[in-house]
């Protein structure tokens, strides 16, 4: 148990008739960044709240830094720092006052506290703004201050609930830098949740994909992407009378796996798309299938989610557009 920063065994949380978390089990090693990736309402925040001792699980057990989250909640609280999804700063106070009050509540004081506040404010580049009221801070500055505050008392485990939610791309990149630096400097284990693929891919050493309160896959980002192959081709096929089912027709080398999606779309797992596409198009033609659209890309975590659930994680920004490669004609898949 001691080699793991977080151990969850069958955690369940029900709110009345709603099951927010439907039995999740996972282990987070010391020093790694472990992520929960999943769409809105998947149960990420509820899981963090249980691990952070703010909600009692309906069933199951969990240990954080070796302490049981219900029976030893005080010891858990001493070992963790939390950045909540929703803001939790006192905006009528200055950045420094927010830090100072946090330190005092956590039993710090004197020269040590002053030094540590300065160190953490410098780390998130807010030292120059230390005497400004938080209500005049931008969203990104508030987030950075929350991260600094959560680290002030040197927690063993840092929980970050959607650390870059709603922030602009530059600010997000900035916050990613801090998170990566924390890992590289060592000393803190990070558990983060996100519904951004790029964030999970960029930051997580290992991640669990969570949907409807259940973990549906758990591995390193690279291993997860290997689930869908090294390249993935999307074909939109018009059924012509008498033609066989498209997956039956196309499932032969170089296609390693064929998965039907919605509306005549199929996903083909191949090792090298540029060589496979001509072969596939020829075969489709000879089988009497008319191909309306072709595109391929290196698999992203979005493809993994699509592969596992048949749905996409909805994203506000079209950030995965960068990863798309256009072959014949590019069209974004219709969103649900």
């Amino acid at each position: 148990m001691t080699e793991y920063a977080v151990v969850a065994e069958g955690l369940v949380k029900k709110f009345g008739s709603v099951t927010a978390v439907a039995g999740v089990s996972f282990k987070v090693r010391y020093g790694e960044i472990f992520g929960f990736l999943g769409p809105n309402g998947a149960g990420k925040t509820t899981t963090i709240h249980m691990l952070a001792t703010l909600l009692k699980p309906t069933a199951g057990d969990a240990w954080v830094a070796g302490h049981h989250i219900v029976k030893e909640s005080d010891a858990v609280r001493r070992s963790i720092g939390v950045v909540f999804q929703d803001p939790s700063l006192d905006s009528e106070l200055t950045a420094y006052e927010n830090m100072y009050i946090h330190g005092k509540i956590y039993g710090m004081g004197g020269e040590e506290l002053r030094y540590r506040i300065e160190e953490m404010l410098r780390f998130v580049e807010l030292y120059e703004h230390r005497n400004r009221l938080v209500k005049y801070f931008s969203g990104g500055m508030r987030r950075r201050l929350e991260i600094a505050r959560a680290l002030l008392h040197k927690p063993k485990v840092l929980f970050l609930d959607e650390p870059t939610l709603g922030l602009d791309p530059q600010t997000r990149a900035h916050i990613w830098e801090y998170i990566k630096r924390l890992r590289d400097e060592g000393g803190v284990t990070i558990f983060l949740t996100t519904h951004y693929m790029d964030e999970a891919e960029e930051l997580c050493d290992r991640l669990a994909i969570i949907d409807h309160g259940k973990i549906i896959a758990e591995d390193t980002p690279n291993q997860l992407k290997r689930l869908v192959g090294s390249d993935i081709i999307y074909l939109k096929v018009r059924a012509v009378n008498g033609a066989p089912n498209s997956c039956d027709a196309l499932s032969a080398p170089p296609v390693m796996e064929c998965k039907p999606l919605r509306e005549g779309m199929v996903a083909l797992k191949v090792s090298d798309a540029t060589q496979a596409i001509p072969v596939i198009l020829e075969r489709a033609a000879s089988m009497g299938l008319r191909v309306a659209e072709v595109s391929y890309r290196k698999p992203t975590l979005n493809d993994v989610f699509l592969y596992l659930t048949g749905r996409e994680i909805r994203e506000e920004e079209g950030s995965e557009a960068d990863f798309l490669k256009h072959v014949i004609r590019m069209r974004r898949f219709r969103r649900r």
Partner: protein, 258 residues
């Protein structure tokens, strides 16, 4: 020890800091009693300006009778409404930051109550200063004991406000309950007229109203007239305040997010 004391001190400090920055709260909570003293007090003082009138108020002029009551009212209002900061903390998320901390919950909530109670007493002190300026028969030696009563009252009703706010989710709900309770408690406390002239049923309500005992005790020391023995007032206030503080601590200890 410092696990309880540090959170206590820092939360009191925080309530202070915030209060000094939210000037609207200072203005409204001081303005109201000033309006009562000026428009209600000065008006009636002239109406009661005849020799027999003093007998109604236990032998003192009306302003001398009224001003300790308005001071108690100011402290009561400021402390009861102070619970609204708990609702703000819920809505702006600061409550979560506190709930996830390893500190003593009792220390945190009592520090916050202490801070808000001191703030309420300071507002009462402003009204008291104004009272001495316009009512000329108040006893300056009564200031300190009256402030002590005011402080116990403030601790009690800050706790009551905090307890209520912990149970409420919306600002509107909190304000509705507060304003439903506030006026009857003020009118039935003997702040504006003596209890002994109230109709029978009103008297009984006044007797079970905690504010009555603060008004009576403060009036005893500042004006020299009272309905009850000041030690009775003190005992009742202490019991009620202890009960409200225990309730607020209990609710806060059990508080989770939902």
């Amino acid at each position: 020890m410092s696990r309880t004391l540090d959170p206590f001190v820092i939360m009191a400090y925080r309530q202070f800091r915030r209060f000094l920055r939210t000037k609207a709260r200072v203005v409204t909570s001081i303005l109201n009693p000033i309006i009562w003293i000026a428009f209600f007090g000065l008006g009636w003082a002239n109406a009661f300006n005849f020799p027999m009138a003093k007998a109604i108020f236990g032998g003192v002029d009306y302003l001398t009778f009224l001003t300790p009551g308005v001071t108690a009212m100011a402290v009561f209002t400021a402390s009861f409404i102070g619970g609204v900061t708990v609702i703000w903390d819920k809505q702006f998320g600061f409550l979560k930051e506190v709930l996830v901390a390893p500190a003593s919950r009792t220390g945190i909530i009592l520090g916050r109550i202490f801070g808000d109670a001191v703030i309420a007493v300071l507002q009462g002190l402003a009204i008291m200063a104004l009272s001495f300026a316009i009512a000329h028969n108040l006893n300056p030696y009564g200031i300190l004991p009256a402030l002590a009563y005011a402080f116990i009252l403030a601790l009690g009703f800050t706790s009551a406000g905090v307890a209520l706010a912990l149970k409420m989710t919306s600002m509107e709900g909190f304000q509705m309950v507060i304003s439903l309770l506030m006026m009857p408690l003020i009118f039935l406390s003997g702040a504006f007229y003596p209890i002994k002239f109230m109709p029978g049923w009103m008297k009984w309500v006044a007797y079970i109203n905690p504010l009555t005992y603060a008004v009576d005790g403060m009036r005893h020391y500042l004006s020299g007239v009272s309905t009850f023995n000041p030690l009775t007032d003190l005992a009742v206030l202490c019991i009620i305040t202890a009960a409200f503080m225990a309730l607020a601590s209990r609710l806060f200890k059990k508080a989770t997010i939902d």
